[in-house]
Structures are given as structure tokens and as C-alpha cells.
Symmetry: C2
Subunit: 223 residues, 2 copies
DNA sequence: GGAGAACCGTAACGTACGGTACGGTGTTTT
DNA sequence: AAAACACCGTACCGTACGTTACGGTTCTCC
């Protein structure tokens, strides 16, 4: 109780950020079994400092998740003039960005850690899974929601529940990529593949939800 | 080396199956931190027996994953007469079954374990993730493949790559359910919800891949 | 009925790791 | 300059867990 652990004060020193980056690097290359000793050695700091700054192991992990989340704040996707081309462009750019994020080694390692810690029964009041979910999946949903609703206002797409439409879009984009990567499947999404998948998913989504004029019956047989 | 660990001999005694069921039960209710002592106590057997039967902790986990996989072999989905109604029925039944499997506590706990162990660096030559992937996702794909290709042969659906079409289907069915459950999100898929989602996903898939006559332009605004 | 195997329960061992304490060093403050 | 502070490196402690060892009990087979 002597220290305040700057729980979400978010006042991170340069040095502290470097420590958290070391944690991320260690997670990526060594897996989820990262020990405090390994972190201290990698970051060239003492364990005492780690405990003073982050309280305990759980606090360190939580801070790391928040730190990574704060780095992934991607661009905004809404537009002023909204025709079908602009909407499609926004969706494709979002899909490509999201695919590249979830297939990045850092994201995989982070999700792996949060999932592993998720089932730990009583221990650890700070649920990493909830943090990842709030800063990842749900934050993304909130960021894309205005795009969907602007598209509906403009009469380009039609749906009753934004959330359901968004979940369909996310399903078309991600498919089984995330679970396969988490389970260790080696499918490397290169740049062009990501672009192609993003376009395919967006066209499929527009085929399902687009209004009559702009949605071709079956845009192309992508598969 | 005195014992043969019956690696994949699959000659499991009743007693051994009971032990593995105890492991599953323990995984579900206590999370991934299951210890050999806890397993022995829960299964009312000695640790010495555990090690004689399964070699080491990794062997026990591997046997557990295989055992669970052998219990989930669901029904077959292909038909003789194949009209659009039969195809839709097969797909809906598959989707509902798969949704109920991936949302079951056992499946969640098992995937959590496999994912957690996935990033453990050098340790553990037996990759649980690969086993789960082979017996789960890939086995499912192989089982549904004949349905897809029969549908194409019958001219009901059109695609060039079966795998890609299947992945689109799986994306429409699962959406973000699995990752959210793994991260600890509490979304309980009740029976009717599963049925509704399965029907929605199947209709969306048929809208995308169905051939002209049977695929209404936009079947219903499900969302 | 007795020998031997299979197995249960528990104690014991070695290691790994989270967390703490302490000496040493460089930097800031007064 | 001396005191105060922040931090590094390392040694240390307690515990938890994987693994092994052992005495006692039940079952099988002759």
C-alpha cells in the first residue's frame, strides 16, 4: 500500500514502457511461461523495481496488456460523403487492419496469455481476458459502429441490429484464423493475402446486407 | 521405458477412461491449473499409477485430449437424394451441432489448455494444439467436405475451392463466439439461440454460394 | 492358502518460481 | 559534501508442484 501501482493512472515512464516492451518481446519469443526473473534480466532492471512499479506479477501482466492495447489504436473509419464506394473502402481497410493485428505474433502471444490465465479458478482478481476483450474485440466494435450506422442512414446497407450485422462481418473477415493461430497452426497471412481476404469478406458482407441497387447478386465467385 | 504408455494404441481400460473423465471434470471446474495430485485425488488413484499408465503429465494431457476427441464423433451429414431442402437441413444440423460443441464447458477448457500449452517454447514435444486442431477443426472440415461437394455436383451451390467455401461457412456460423468464450466472456448459447444462429448462418451461406434458382436474393433480414 | 501383481495412499525429493531483503552505484537535492 | 533517493544485481525464503519411492491392501492365479 506504500505505492499506488499507477493502476490505470497511465503515467508510464519511458523506462517503464521499455520494461513492458521487454515483456512483450519475451512473450512473443519464449511463450507464456515468462518469469519475473526473465523479465528483469531482459529489461535490465531489478526484480525489486518490477515489484515496486507493478505490485505483483499480475499487475505487470495487466500493465503489459494495457500498454499493448494503447499502441494499437488504429485510425478512424468514418467519412463525410458516404457513397457505396467510400463505405466499401472503409470496410476493406478495417478488415485488412484487423486481420493484420490478430495475426501478429504480439497479438497471438497476448491472447494466449489472457486465455491461459482465464481458467485459473479463484486466483487473480484482475481478469486479463476481460481486459483483452474490452480493448480488443469490443473497442473495435465501437469504433466501427458509426460506419455501419452511417451506411444504414445513407440507405446503402440494411439491418435491424447493428451488433448482429457487425458480428457477421467479423465472422466473414476472421473465419477460423484466430483460433487456428492460437492453437499453433502455421498459416502466415502475407500482405497480399490479407488484402484479398479483406476484399472478399467485404464483398460478401455487402452482398448479404447491401441494398438492392449497389449489391450485385453474387459479386464474384471468390472461392 | 519399462512401460509402453500405450501412446496411440487406444487400448483404454474402463478404469483409465474413468481417470481421464476425472481429468476432464477437473479441468472444467478448476481451470487449467490441474496438478497431478489433484487428478489422483479426484480419480481415487495413486500418482504412481498415473505415471505408470501415462508416462508423465504431458502424456496424461495428451491422452485426455484424445479421449475427449473420441467421444465427440458426431453423426454423418451426407444424404442420398440431394435437393436444396436436404442440403440446407444438413448444413443447419451441422452448424447447430458445432455451435453446441464449441460452447460446451469441456471444449472451452480443453481449447484453453491446448492454447496455454502452445506457447511453452521448447518444452513438451507433443503439441496439444496440433492434436486439438486435427481432431476438432480439421476433422470437422473433412466430415463436411462430402456434403459441400455433393451440393456442388447437384448444382445447388457453386464454388471453386471447397476449403475456402467451408471456411466462409464456419466463419458465418461461429463468428466471434469461440474467442469470446475462451477469453471468459459470458455468453450462454441456449438451445433456441443455437438453432436460430445455425439457420441464419446457413441462409447467409446459401445466399452467397447458392445457385440462382434456389437462392433468394436476400432471404430474410435476419439481423 | 500362498505367491505375485496391480494398485492406493502418502511421504519424500528436487527444482522452479514468486516475492523480499540487502549491498553497491549513480544521480539528485540541500 | 553529505544526505536522500532510485535503481541494479544477486542472494535468499517459502511454497507449490512434478516425479519417485515405499508400505499396505486387494485381487488373481496356481
Amino acid at each position: 500500500m506504500a505505492t499506488q501501482h499507477d493502476s490505470q493512472g497511465e503515467a508510464l515512464t519511458e523506462r517503464q514502457q521499455a520494461v513492458l516492451d521487454a515483456v512483450l518481446a519475451l512473450m512473443v519469443e519464449k511463450g507464456g511461461d515468462l518469469t519475473m526473473t526473465a523479465v528483469a534480466r531482459r529489461a535490465s532492471c531489478s526484480k525489486e523495481t518490477l515489484y515496486k512499479w507493478f505490485g505483483d506479477r499480475d499487475g505487470l501482466l495487466t500493465a503489459t496488456v494495457r500498454w499493448q492495447a494503447s499502441k494499437v489504436r488504429a485510425g478512424n473509419y468514418d467519412r463525410q460523403r458516404l457513397d457505396v464506394s467510400a463505405l466499401r473502402d472503409s470496410l476493406v481497410r478495417f478488415a485488412a487492419n484487423w486481420l493484420s493485428v490478430i495475426s501478429s505474433p504480439t497479438s497471438i502471444a497476448l491472447n494466449r496469455l489472457a486465455i491461459a490465465q482465464g481458467g485459473k479458478g479463484d486466483k487473480g482478481a484482475s481478469n486479463l481476458g476481460a481486459i483483452v476483450l474490452a480493448n480488443g474485440r469490443f473497442a473495435i466494435g465501437e469504433r466501427l459502429r458509426p460506419v455501419f450506422e452511417a451506411g444504414r442512414e445513407a440507405g446503402l446497407i440494411a439491418f435491424t441490429d447493428t451488433e448482429t450485422a457487425f458480428r457477421t462481418f467479423i465472422g466473414l473477415v476472421g473465419r477460423d484464423v484466430q483460433i487456428r493461430l492460437l492453437l499453433g497452426d502455421t498459416l502466415d497471412l502475407a500482405g497480399p493475402e490479407i488484402e484479398r481476404d479483406a476484399a472478399r469478406a467485404t464483398d460478401q458482407f455487402l452482398a448479404l446486407y447491401g441494398t438492392g441497387d449497389n449489391a450485385p447478386r453474387r459479386p464474384t465467385i471468390h472461392a
